[in-house]
Symmetry: C2
Subunit: 324 residues, 2 copies
């Protein structure tokens, strides 16, 4: 069994070995940049772990897994344009470091570099793997559209919010796990089970991300706490709070999010106090835990000896910051 | 044998029948818009003609051919962002009609809708077809990068310019012809030959496009004549003129293209007069004709009875505005 650290190393090596059409090197500079500034490599690692569940040999999955990471970074480059985000992972975003046109175009080529990776899937399962990926890719675009739509919407229900993060984040984790499992040689039932595992993991992960924005450790999280509140971003915490708020609490929340000029510290403190009155932290943590527990029970249902499941269980636990 | 008109109808029908993930309809509105505002459907028609060379049955090629058109329109949506172009085919571009973010995102999803089409290629040649497409897709991005780079470059040789249009325009026509031929059941030599046919056609087509900007019939061309001169766009005509100009002619050309304020009509007239002194129209027409003649002789080398080649020959002739 490969450990998470070993798999991350394999992925990083594969990223360095990606081949580029070098005729216009300016095109590839931003691609190499965004791929080099790290992150957890969660999607390819998940794919390789899922492959490793069914197979000691994971070589066949490394390039398609890398395709998942390239695709994910493509979405980051274009999402950062749409969000006017100046910084990603403590470094300038592609459109800030270069410019808008370069971010559009270098992002575009990443979609086809990702394709190139999926085309290197072993022939007997290439079309199956590519379909799983491509369905997810379209859903990620749909999720991003819903995210844009929701930012302008007056009211978003928590069900709508969860569906949005399912599409924008969870389906790609789901597809990653399924793709790895397929290449590892699983059957159709197991492939669906791994998909559900990844989907639940992704939902937990995104809710956890919303929580960390307020309740995280600033040294670990690497962002200013309350950034989502300052920028009026809809999060699970906010949409849920607006649903269960009393008339007076709702009025106060709306007031905070309507302020044109404000002291960020006071705004964050006021909103967090309202969240605390409504027990939003617990409600959100419980929901994230429910998703993780569902993910665990899906793993339990898998007809593979338990020793093979430890890495996947560990990654699931670590995502919501609990020891397994 | 299908005629060009019949094939265009088939493609338009397939475009109308494309299936969409409708969960965020705003995402698809620009996709349907750009795909509905027409154009010649040159790439899919070329693919279907190439298929029809080898096979009476072309059904298997219709969806992949449609993928070529979807991909082409994806590049138009994003290129129009990069060029700040307000109008395409006499209608507002996607980013003008909607906004930048919508153009980025709806463009993105088109790349995956195109993938979806290629995944519907018959299994026995899917991976081969997809590889031909994807290589071309990356090259189109490289071509767009070179185009951006060249706009800022002081000097571009005619060889560099031709390579740029080869990548930006010709390789996709080449891939279209090759993909159709592969699905039609050709052998490897024939596939390469069709690729070369499309590549030469594409080069002729782009030079012809540069010529039409100045020497076209405004009623047929649908744009203001001299637009490339007004906007200082590098064209084959300009890069070639700068290469063969006398010191005095070069000085005058540079002067025109350095003007901050000018009467468009006078600028166009002055530049065209310089072009005429240098015989640029003939030089460019001869080059386009050379490419078309090469395309014809490639067709001649094809071991298929001549009657099957008439539609491809006709489209080649019509592209450079001559009767076959």
């Amino acid at each position: 069994m490969y450990t998470q650290a070993e798999l991350k190393k394999l992925v990083n090596k594969a990223i360095l070995n990606l081949s580029y059409n070098e005729e216009a090197e300016k095109l590839n500079d931003p691609v190499k940049y965004i791929l080099s500034i790290g992150g957890k490599r969660l999607r390819p690692v998940l794919a390789l772990m899922a492959c490793n569940l069914f197979n000691d040999k994971i070589d066949d999955a490394v390039i398609p897994a890398t395709g998942l990471e390239v695709f994910h970074n493509f979405t980051l480059v274009h999402d950062d344009i749409m969000d006017h985000a100046p910084v990603r992972r403590n470094l300038p975003t592609v459109h800030s470091k270069w410019n808008l046109n370069q971010a559009v175009l270098s992002g575009d080529v990443m979609a086809f570099i990702a394709n190139e990776c999926f085309l290197q899937t072993p022939a007997h399962c290439m079309s199956k793997v590519f379909r799983v990926f491509n369905k997810a890719a379209i859903e990620v675009c749909v999720g991003q559209q819903l995210d844009i739509d929701f930012e302008k919407a007056a009211i978003v229900s928590h069900e709508e919010y969860l569906r949005m993060i399912e599409l924008k984040t969870a389906v790609l984790l789901a597809a990653s796990a399924k793709i790895g499992a397929i290449i590892g040689g699983c059957d159709d039932r197991e492939a669906d089970l791994l998909y559900e595992f990844g989907r639940n993991l992704g939902l937990a992960f995104q809710i956890q991300d919303d929580l960390l924005d307020i309740y995280g450790d600033v040294k670990v999280f690497g962002k200013i706490l309350g950034g989502d509140i300052i920028s009026n971003k809809k999060t699970y915490l906010l949409v849920k709070a607006l649903e269960i708020a009393s008339v007076e609490q709702a009025k106060q929340l709306h007031k905070q999010f309507a302020l044109k000029e404000f002291d960020p510290e006071i705004k964050v403190k006021t909103v967090v106090e309202l969240y605390n009155q409504m027990n939003i932290k617990n409600i959100s943590e419980n929901l994230a835990n429910n998703y993780i527990n569902t993910a665990f029970s899906l793993l339990d249902n898998l007809g593979v000896i338990n020793e093979r499941k430890t890495e996947l269980a560990d990654i699931a636990s670590s995502l919501i910051g609990r020891d397994n």
